[in-house]
Symmetry: C2
Subunit: 106 residues, 2 copies
């Protein structure tokens, strides 16, 4: 019956309204070349801070901050204060949920 449950979950192609909104927000967040690059950078350098990201990209600090906000709001990225800086990482839990949901839905 554990197996049956797993199969049921694996086949279930519906999301609650909030899950669906989050799922779409994640697609939207990654559907921008700058933000996609940021995701790749954080994957490569977990714990990097805003300055690292700004140095790595051809855009102004204010714009980086704006993009980080979109990524954070989608749930894909987490930032935690470390002294005067903020360290950014992929939010593993939410990224895994995204990956599982992609497999499940399509």
């Amino acid at each position: 019956m554990m197996t049956e449950l797993k199969e049921k979950l694996a086949e279930n192609k519906t999301l609650s309204r909030l899950e669906r909104e989050r799922f779409i927000a994640m697609f939207k967040a990654m559907g921008n070349p700058i933000r996609y690059e940021m995701m790749e950078y954080m994957l490569k350098f977990p714990g990097c801070n805003t300055t690292n990201i700004v140095d790595h990209l051809p855009i102004a600090q204010a714009t980086v901050s704006q993009h980080l906000k979109v990524l954070k709001e989608s749930g894909l990225v987490s930032g935690e204060l470390e002294g005067p800086a903020t360290c950014y990482c992929l939010n593993d839990e939410n990224v895994n949920w995204f990956k599982e949901t992609v497999q499940r839905i399509f």
Copy 2:
């Protein structure tokens, strides 16, 4: 050695410039609520035509057609002429590539 190759491919987190562009275009395409709904609809009703989709959505035919173009250009969706109508389906090959790439990259 087949196993090693598989592992190598599974771990490879880089995409060519064109693959990367397509990957981002797919995220962008699905990052819109109307287009996401269209994807779900085509998943549920493969081979549906534009009229079916128009009837299912709260937007004008011209707008549906525009969104379908975005989905087609991303590679996620294929349309083939069937008489005077166009039948739409998810492009399984490309959707599977997307799913595999999501697993591989993140």
